[in-house]
Amino acid sequence: MTETHDVDPEFLALPHRQLADAALTRCRELGAENADVRVERHGSQLLRLRDGRLEGSSDSQDTGFSVRVVHDGSWGFAAAVDLSPEEAARTAERAVEMARLSRPLSTERVVLSDEPVYADATYVSAYAVDPFTVSEADKVALLAEWSERLLAADGVDHVDASSYAIKEQSFYADLAGTRTTQQRVRIEPEVTVVGIAPNGGGFETMRTLAPPVGRGWEYLLGTGWDWQGELAELPELLRERLLAPSVEAGTYDLVVDPTNLWLTIHESVGHATELDRALGYEANYAGTSFATFDQLGTLRYGSELMHVTGDRTTPHGLSTVGYDDEGVAAQQWDLIKDGVLVGYQLDRSMARLKGFDRSNGCAYADSALHVPVQRMPNVSLQPAANGPSTGELIAGVDDGLYVVGDKSWSIDMQRYNFQFTGQRFYRIRGGRLAGQVKDAAYQATTTDFWGSMKGLGGPQTYLLGGAFNCGKAQPGQVAAVSHGCPAALFQGINILNTVQEAGR
């Protein structure tokens, strides 16, 4: 199946260029140094099945546009939904008014880094079947069939199945002359089975490990993931978890599967290398970062095995794009090399402020109604070129745990102290897996954890994980992002027993 598409004609038919011309002309007349216009249409469809029946669906499409200006050194932003040139000009005026309101309260003058002009560029992400072209009945039927099969298995009391599909279309124009038109598709299917122990012995859940991806409906049919294989294993994995012994709290060596490690990377590396956090712009909300700017090039982040990149180019990556929301072309760069902090995630104003030649293209707004902020690219831990398999990593551990699949996550406001659970924790004894244990959480401080990474899997263990729901900024914005990583070995990690933590 081809993965090449054009931008939908319905989006191209919107009066972008008239809107952009009207708004940019007004911005120029009012003396703006910089101005850009974004017209966006975001479609989303969420289907949720409980025990094989459709419990709820939401299908929405948001269309709108915004004008962002730099006027007398201050930002101004205004957004509206009526796609007429008159409203565009009025919105431009409102943006300039906001900049004027801001001026007396602003001490920093906003200047943007340079970027080549892309006069008429188009980007469409790689997918085979646009999920919005598949009938809802067909989608529900597939999820219902999966659910029925699982419900029929021994020990499965409930099944949740869902599919969340998003299509983002955007048109961007700025005073410098860049015009980009883009379309991106992504999908997140999930299945969770619930087992209730007899005689009031509690309940357990087990969720699919399939990550959300920048693909279309073909993903659920087997392109990029073995759904049939994973669904077939779920009941037995759940049964084993229900019977598993409770973990003994203490210090363990951990082999962390990429299905779990991606989220640890997201929280402890991805967010910590956002320059806006390091500079304090998120201090009231998402938080700051221990990886402050004065430590660029010197901070020992982790062991020498650690090579982390940022990119907006990985095929099927959730943060992958042609151009960011400031007209900057997609790039790839190093964040951590040989265990040392060497880069940050940038937008155009921060790039200029801190003396970088160019933004690396991390500006993103989750709708036309929100202002672009610096958001996460795909942040990935590179595998060791000839590194070991997951089995070989496990074989090197005498007494430890193997962690598979993400579940609970939490990290502090400077990205030091984190605590994660998983879909499953396996005991490792004498280099072999010795069954699941339950009630485990691993807890560490970021630099201690990455410093303890003593084994790094090879490319054969590499997997692109990710999330749809990364939150940041005020007003709150949601972004999707992918994280690739191999399996890895961490020595001497603190394991908590969550039943003891609950005081039971």
Binding site: L105, F203, A441, P475
Partner: protein, 461 residues
């Protein structure tokens, strides 16, 4: 075309057994600042229309729901037909019940939607500018956010519902940091209109708390008597509230499930006569007095649109009294019909005084929190939550704050905490920190908890 006209026209176009239309007009404005300077700002208008079609079939009734922004008259018929097609494709809905029959329309049904603009900050912005000046002079940094939203909802149905609600929602948050950013604290306040926001009062609290942190005191992780201010208790109670789905409890998969079957409704959770409730008419925290649901889920049903909401006790006299219900789940669980309401209050009857009074009445040593952050569920069986203290943990000794400890990661269940309250203040309006993107209307007491589980230390300051 007005939103009311869109509702009427869409209902007129309906060709299936039932139709519900929800029109929402939103306006929003915000200011954001960091390091004593404004960073971003915005003023936004939005408009969305949700059409819900219901279709009766041999095996039951199905529903289909679609939401589109800025729908024009020429797109309306297509939207109604698409919702009808979605209903036909969906199959019978488990939550299907007859649509709510409307009574008298809201008296302001025909009025124009309410709108907010940047003018709401007329008094606030200059006061903030003055606070920036004072902060610069005192080598202090202010970070924060002010936002005001207005959402007008028009709900109409083929069974005669014509309801309207205007919902103002606003908040101010200020994070203050000392020179070199070694000490950090936070204050927040919810508001309906910014007329009750006094920047000087908020700033004074920031200055007082940064002062408390000038002396640092080593406190090891472990179980500590801890005073949760109203904001921290609100964040924990909101999570408890969101976790109280009757359907899921009935299905045996939440902390409110009774082992062996049924729910824990009626079970005592605290020896104190605690009351946890919601009330659309609670003064200052008024919220939508009817169900307005764009899609169905475990705790919402599109069939319940227009159902009136009234004061509901979730916990009464210390016992679990009600869970989040739809009409369908109320029948399934055999419990009262108690749908969710967009505010949450907790009171410890007989408790009086302020947070400061509770601090002053503390004998021995206790920790006083600023707020909680990054709260996530660790174990649904006990509703064990993890998270962190944020922007200041203060050490109280014999009624006085004597310094600050580090931040901590906690592991605690909000259900369990209700049984370990050893002191409380009067209930007061507060802004939750963790969940205020979604939930701002809360009133809580400050409470002292015995042996709060500070599991590990955090170096974040």
């Amino acid at each position: 075309m007005t939103p009311q006209d869109l509702v009427e026209r869409a209902l007129g176009l309906s060709r299936t057994e039932g139709c519900v239309v929800l029109a929402q007009e939103t306006s929003s404005t915000n200011l954001r600042w960091a390091g004593n300077t404004l960073t971003t700002n915005g003023v936004m208008r939005g408009r969305a229309l949700t059409v819900i079609a219901t279709v009766d079939g041999a095996e039951g009734t199905a529903s289909g729901s679609l939401t589109r922004s800025n729908v024009g008259i020429d797109e309306l018929e297509q939207l109604v037909r698409s919702a009808e097609a979605a209903a036909r494709a969906a199959g019978p809905a488990e939550d299907a019940r007859p649509l709510i029959v409307g009574g008298a329309p809201s008296p302001d049904w025909t009025d124009e939607p309410a709108v907010t603009t940047g003018a709401v900050f007329e008094r606030f912005a200059p006061a903030l500018g003055a606070a920036f000046e004072r902060a610069r002079a005192a080598d202090r940094e202010l970070f924060g956010f002010a936002e005001h939203d207005l959402v007008t909802t028009y709900l109409g149905s083929s069974t005669g519902v014509r309801l309207r609600h205007d919902q103002p929602t606003g908040k101010v948050e200020i994070t203050g940091k000392s020179a070199a950013r070694t000490r950090s604290t936070y204050v927040g306040q919810a508001t309906r209109d910014f007329r009750d926001i006094d920047v000087d009062v908020l700033e004074a609290e920031v200055v007082r708390r940064l002062g408390w942190a000038e002396r640092s005191i080593d406190i090891a992780p472990g179980r500590h008597d801890t005073i949760l201010p109203p904001s921290a208790l609100a964040d924990l109670m909101i999570y408890l509230y969101w976790s109280s789905s009757a359907r899921e409890a009935h299905d045996g998969r939440t902390a409110f499930s009774k082992p062996g079957g049924g729910t824990r409704v009626g079970e005592r959770l605290s020896e104190l006569p605690i009351e946890l409730w919601s009330d659309p008419a609670y003064p200052g925290l008024e919220c939508e007095p009817f169900v307005a649901a764009g899609s169905s889920g475990a705790t919402t049903s599109v069939f319940d649109n227009g159902l009136p909401l009234a004061r509901t006790s979730w916990i009464s006299d210390g016992s679990l009294n009600a869970l989040l219900q739809t009409r369908a789940s109320a029948e399934l669980s055999g419990l009262s019909l108690t749908p969710g309401i967009d505010n949450l209050m907790l009171a410890v009857p007989g408790a009086t005084g302020s947070t400061d009074d509770l601090v002053a009445a503390t004998s021995g040593r206790a920790l006083l929190l600023t707020c909680l952050w990054y709260i996530r569920e660790v174990d649904p069986q006990t509703l064990l939550l993890t998270g962190l203290t944020r922007d200041g943990v203060y050490v109280v000794e014999d009624g006085e704050v004597i310094g600050a400890a580090t931040n901590f990661r906690f592991n605690e269940s909000p259900i369990d905490l209700l049984g370990r309250i050893s002191g409380a203040s009067a209930t007061q309006p507060c802004l939750p920190r963790e969940w205020n993107d979604y939930f701002t209307r809360t009133a809580m007491p400050a409470v002292r908890i015995s042996g709060f589980n500070m599991s590990t230390a955090s170096r974040a300051n």
